[in-house]
């Protein structure tokens, strides 16, 4: 688990990318991890071709949830919304690297859950339950 906190994770935690709010988002979703209280909000701007033209996230919580949300925003910007809806757990794990413990997986997956909720337009089930 110690290995998890690499420099780039801490960097995303302390300097989150695409953090804040959009003026006129097309889609918005928000959720909390009831067990630890982490909160993530995702706002998307989707262009006429269904491409994620812009994205912002807002939230608070641990380095894992915030860094993985931050990295996810970079992953999805410029991608078709349909792709976002199909993102899997593995995409997040690729971002954050190895070494995460099962108890903290929900922290890492919170951003994904919210993003997929936004993309699918309805509450997704927990990604780790699929």
């Amino acid at each position: 688990m110690d290995d998890f906190y690499r420099d780039y994770i801490l960097d995303h935690y302390r300097n989150p990318r695409n953090f804040g709010h959009l003026e006129h988002p097309d889609v918005v979703a928000e959720d909390t991890n009831p067990l630890c209280g982490d909160r993530i909000r995702m706002e998307l701007l989707v262009d006429a071709n269904g491409i994620v033209a812009d994205v912002r996230f807002f939230g608070k919580g641990c380095a894992i949830s915030q860094a993985s949300a931050s990295m996810l925003t970079e992953t999805v910007k410029g991608r078709p919304l349909a792709d976002v809806a199909r993102l899997t757990k593995e995409a997040v794990l690729e971002n954050v690297g190895i070494g995460i413990s099962p108890a903290r997986l929900k922290c890492a997956m919170l951003g994904l859950k919210v993003l997929k909720t936004a993309a699918v337009g309805q509450l997704a089930s927990w990604p780790d339950e699929d």
Binding site: D2, Y5, L10, C36, K60, G61, C62, A63, I64, R104
Partner: protein, 428 residues
């Protein structure tokens, strides 16, 4: 302050040795440093043995059995009730088995509350209650049209009693925790209980964090109800207790109904059993109760005065050691006076989120808790998104505190606290 830990090094070593989970080097070759006893305590061998002996040699259902092992089981079960009752200086007739503190409080909220709380009545709690001593009263208030009001706490988590008499005006029930599980604050029951009674209120005390950690005498405290959990005081999971004054319990309608709590049943209705069985429907957690009896026997042998002194000393030492990290951004919450604190210290370290802190500490074999500790409203009020919490029990040592401090050093290194520093504190 008496430094009982140093004096009692061999006693402490013997206690540690009583706990199988602490005896072996289980975490990557190290001895477990368990600093989460406020969530649940570890279990001594004698309690585990009590369960094994019951299941292996006299397992039977109780109360109605005529044969020998059923008699032994009944005697052990009711004997355990006597032990736990004596542990808090209650009469066994006034001690109802429950699953845990939460169920004990719900029992009072439903049974006593349903019969006594009317629209417009006031229920008074404090701002630092555990959800288990808050949500049942919110629900009761919503069901009955009563109002819930709060005794405020200050920035250090100490009860503000300036307006207590005003707050108590017209109050039917005061419900408060003896010790806060988030900040360790010991409530001034000696002040609150008599004034609540003078105002005509009934007093329920949530003793989940007090019964494990200090001598408790329900008669001396003069509380009306006292709820506590076995699993936080060396006993098995799934068993807790509600003490209630006999007259109150007698007057209360039953809560859960079914087998064992009845006297007679016809197709038209039922009459109920005597105290305390009136409140114990269905097959009880027989083994759990027997284990609870073994647990309080064990704690009594150690001596609850010793437990209190030991924890006071540990908390005091931990305050001292944590202070060393303050320049790097460590913040301790709650009253910082070991006389006002039981077993718990809450803190944050620079901008490291407590969940990350707990994960890193786990890598060092140190178990702490991180989060809202089931006191969300308090966290919200204080402006803390979450805290890290270390809690101590009979088997913890100064070396455990040192291990905590060392592990915090490791976390600081990983999070480069020296560089990123105390600048970005958490929750800003």
């Amino acid at each position: 302050m008496r430094a009982c830990v140093a004096d009692d090094a061999s006693k402490l070593a013997r206690i540690v040795d009583d706990f199988p989970i602490l005896r072996e080097r289980t975490v990557r070759g190290r001895r477990l440093v368990y600093l989460d006893s406020a969530a649940t305590s570890q279990k001594p061998q004698c309690v585990i043995d009590a369960l094994v002996t019951y299941y292996s040699t006299y397992n039977a259902n109780i109360h109605r059995g005529v044969y020998e092992i059923a008699e032994r089981a009944t005697d052990a079960f009711e004997g355990a009730r006597g032990k736990v009752a004596r542990f808090v200086n209650a009469n066994p007739r006034e001690l109802v088995w429950t699953r845990n503190t939460t169920e004990a409080i719900n029992l009072v909220a439903h049974s006593w509350g349903g019969a006594n709380i009317k629209p417009g009545d006031v229920i008074l709690v404090t701002q630092l209650e555990h959800h288990s001593n808050l949500v049942p009263w919110q629900e009761l208030a919503a069901r009955t049209g009563a109002r819930l009001t709060y005794v405020p706490v200050d920035d250090r988590g100490l009860h503000v009693l300036d307006d207590l008499d005003d707050l108590l005006d017209g109050v039917k029930l005061v419900a408060l925790s003896h010790v806060s599980n988030t900040l360790g604050t010991i409530a001034p029951l000696d002040i609150i209980v008599p004034r609540a009674h003078a105002a005509g209120a009934v007093v329920l005390v949530d003793g989940a964090q007090a019964a494990p950690n200090m001598p408790v005498d329900v008669k001396a405290l003069d509380v009306d109800f006292y709820a506590f959990s076995g699993h936080k005081m060396c006993a098995p999971t799934g068993i807790g207790a509600l003490y209630g004054k006999r007259a109150l319990l007698e007057a209360m309608p039953p809560f859960l109904t079914g087998g064992d709590m009845i006297r007679t049943v016809t197709y038209d209705g039922a009459t109920y059993n005597d105290l305390p069985w009136k409140f114990e429907a269905g097959t009880s957690n027989i083994a759990g109760a027997i284990g609870f009896g073994a647990a309080v026997e064990y704690l009594s042998q150690i001596g609850m005065e010793w437990v209190r002194e030991h924890e006071r000393s540990l908390v005091s030492y931990a305050f001292e050691r944590l202070r060393e990290l303050e320049p790097r951004g460590l913040v301790v919450y709650g009253p910082r006076d070991p006389d006002l604190v039981a077993d718990v210290i809450s803190f944050n370290y620079a901008d490291i989120h407590p969940h990350d802190l707990a994960s890193i500490l786990d890598g060092e074999g140190v178990c702490i808790r991180a989060g809202h500790h089931c006191t969300m409203p308090l966290m919200e009020k204080m402006g803390w998104p979450a805290t890290a919490r270390a809690s101590f029990y009979i088997y913890n040592t100064r070396q455990d505190v040192d291990a905590l401090i060392d592990a915090l050093g490791k976390a600081a290194a990983i999070f480069k606290i020296d560089r990123a520093g105390a600048a970005g504190a958490l929750g800003g």
